[in-house]
């Protein structure tokens, strides 16, 4: 490559030095670059409604963990703009690869709240049909979903029937080798995939400065030939615009991109975390004040697009969703132990058939004894049938 050509390539790949922002923290519109179209009004109103409802859903989920109705819940509070903004950039034919953190993204994708909480409730590992929703299972092992996303994008490219893949990764996840391997693969394959790094400044307790010395995580792209951008992730308008541009570039056959959305995890990592051990309230308060939902509301009101009426409607829908969530999670945790053997392989191996028969016999014996669960696993003490020789 000539000196000139390389300079141009590099300039094209590097992100802007300041995160893209369309809306000031107080909701005032900012000047928008020529090529950065503002999303349509209807889309922004829809986004606002989803953010309001999502926020309520998120708060309700956190409350349900305290009541033991969810095993664990990693809150999205404060990340509504980047999760919802990113997902609204997708069409139905596109694919989403979320992490455990991305309940708002899944909700914006249209999934039933109960189905998307199946994992976190402890009922099964994935509660929805990934093929039907074009949404991969929520991924727990950090960044391991990134190569899957690239592979699926490559599959879509090969089928030639359209479709783009959006994969979500946390700031911590970018340190994993899999993230890098996926980014590099995407560059080589030219696959239609968008990597969205939600940089919420913490990986559980590990702060960004111990995670990477990068000037910004968006600078990872250039080293793999992937065009990159950074955006204010609490600015829904900018996030939606930047991710949409990346998605449409992929759709047009112009390959992968990386977007870093700067945001903040307002709540502890999960309900089980104790964030006071590693960050101070002042920092959290500052970010609470930079609330993405409030910012969008002010912006929309400023532009005369939103009235009290729409806000009230959204609030009411939010309450309905919360109510449905409470109702849906009020029952006991369902689970058929014999399902353990049902999905290991398309056809169970002889070993699994045998083991299933053993468990079935054991369960039958338990029933005879007067109820399942009446056995000790050494942790909890419960009554059990007196075994005698």
């Amino acid at each position: 490559m000539s000196f000139q050509a390389l300079r141009q390539t590099v300039d094209r790949l590097l992100p802007s030095s300041d995160p893209v922002r369309y809306v000031a923290e107080d909701g005032t519109p900012l000047p928008v670059p020529d090529d950065g179209g503002i999303p349509a009004d209807a889309v922004l109103l829809d986004a606002f409604r989803r953010m309001v409802v999502g926020r309520r859903f998120d708060a309700q989920a956190t409350v349900l963990t305290r009541q033991g109705r969810l095993a664990v819940y990693p809150s999205s509070r404060g990340q509504e703009a980047c999760q919802i903004g990113a997902v609204l950039a997708l069409r139905e034919e596109d694919w989403l690869f979320p992490t455990y953190r991305d309940s708002m993204a899944l909700f914006a994708r249209g999934l039933d709240p109960l189905e998307l909480l199946t994992l976190l409730r402890g009922e099964w590992h994935c509660g929805y049909d990934p093929m039907a929703w074009r949404t991969a299972p929520q991924c727990t092992p950090l960044a391991t979903q990134a190569p899957h996303a690239v592979g699926l994008a490559e599959a879509l490219r090969r089928r030639g029937r359209g479709g783009v893949v959006l994969v979500l990764v946390g700031d911590g996840g970018t340190s994993e080798g899999d993230f890098h391997e996926a980014l590099n693969f995407a560059g080589v394959l030219g696959a239609p995939v968008v990597f969205l790094v939600q940089n919420n400044r913490y990986a559980i307790s590990v702060p960004l400065e111990r995670q990477s010395a990068a000037p910004a995580l968006a600078f990872r792209g250039v080293g793999c030939g992937v065009p990159s951008e950074q955006v204010d992730g609490n600015d829904l308008v900018a996030t939606l615009a930047v991710v949409s541009a990346a998605v449409e570039r992929a759709r047009a056959g112009r390959g992968p991109s990386l977007v870093e959305a700067h945001t903040y995890r307002v709540e502890p990592h999960t309900n089980a975390d104790d964030a006071a051990r590693y960050r101070d309230e002042e920092e959290v308060a500052r970010w609470r004040a930079a609330d993405p939902v409030v910012r969008l509301e002010r912006y929309l009101r400023h532009r005369g697009l939103l009235t009290d009426r729409e806000v009230e409607d959204a609030r009411q829908e939010a309450e309905r969703v919360a109510e449905a969530l409470r109702a849906g999670l009020s029952g006991p945790l369902a689970g058929d132990p014999l399902e353990l053997f049902s999905h290991v392989f398309a056809e169970p191996t002889p070993q699994l058939v045998e083991q299933r028969a053993w468990l079935a016999a054991e369960l039958a014996a338990w029933d005879g004894d007067g109820g399942a669960g009446g056995d000790s696993d050494g942790v909890e003490e419960e009554g059990r049938s007196g075994w005698r020789r």
Binding site: L120, W124, E176, I204, V206, V344, D377, V379, R389
Partner: protein, 339 residues
Amino acid sequence: MATVTMARALNSALREALRADDDVLVFGEDVGPLGGVFRITDGLTREFGQERCFDTPLAEAGIVGVAVGLCMGGFRPVVEMQFDAFGYPAFEQIASHVAKTRNRTRGRLSLPMVIRVPFGGGIGGVEHHSDSSEAYYAHTPGLKVVTPATVEDAYWLLRDAVDDPDPVVFMEPKRLYWSRGEVSTARGSVEPLGRAVVRRAGRDVTVVAYGPAVPVALEAAREAARGGVELEVVDLRSLVPFDDATVVASVRRTGRCVVVQEAQGFAGVGAEVAARVQERCFHSLAAPVLRVAGFDVPYPPPAVERAHLPSVRRILGAVSRLQFDDEPDLTHGVAGVVS
């Protein structure tokens, strides 16, 4: 002698190790100010500073690989894999370097590191938080693999592991973190790393267990005793090195053996125990060595995990089948699991 939780005993062991040797370092994900997600490193950064106990980027291969380099520079790293499934990204570093470096260099380069791995289920964890990965490590020559079942062992085996000149994969049974027991910082009669211990003597059947399965086996022994059957419970403590002497002596005495593990059974450590025992005690055995293990399925979600875990009932079921025929018993009222 104080009564503490196993989590606390592990914390004390790390603290004492850091005090005893300036070259000991503790690092990993969230082990610093947070004190680890299970608080095993609680307070260590406060006491020893960021230089001795620190958080790293989220990169398990990197963590283990950096520990290899620190060993070459004379340090003794103790690293944490946050949950056992999150040790898998480090598998290449562990199998190709941690396990092989001493051998590769004809003993010139030793790697005195400890890789702590919280393992096993029974804590209502969502997917990837309850795997039992000990067999992967035990099958890899060059690694010592240790797991405590008592609070006192948690303390002393971890001290031994840190002092060991070779890499030790230290498997911590998560669901025993909150179990309580006595531990003295004067060594007393605690056996060193490498020895198994008879936790309960009994004449009828040897039950071999390790880690989270040991309390279940002991409970089964108490239950069996009420029915007049005396189980001898051997706690392996160390999977590699394996204490053949203790196991073999017990089985030759009792003539019967049940092996208990939480991990999926196929090609697990329990298979090795069963194979060894019948190799070495064949003429003493009145019945086949039976195994009680997890099923050969991915670890289940919380809703159904109890159905997967070895239980008192399953151990007693196996014991009850120790003298009959070759066929696994599907018809008797008491079902058992042999996988």
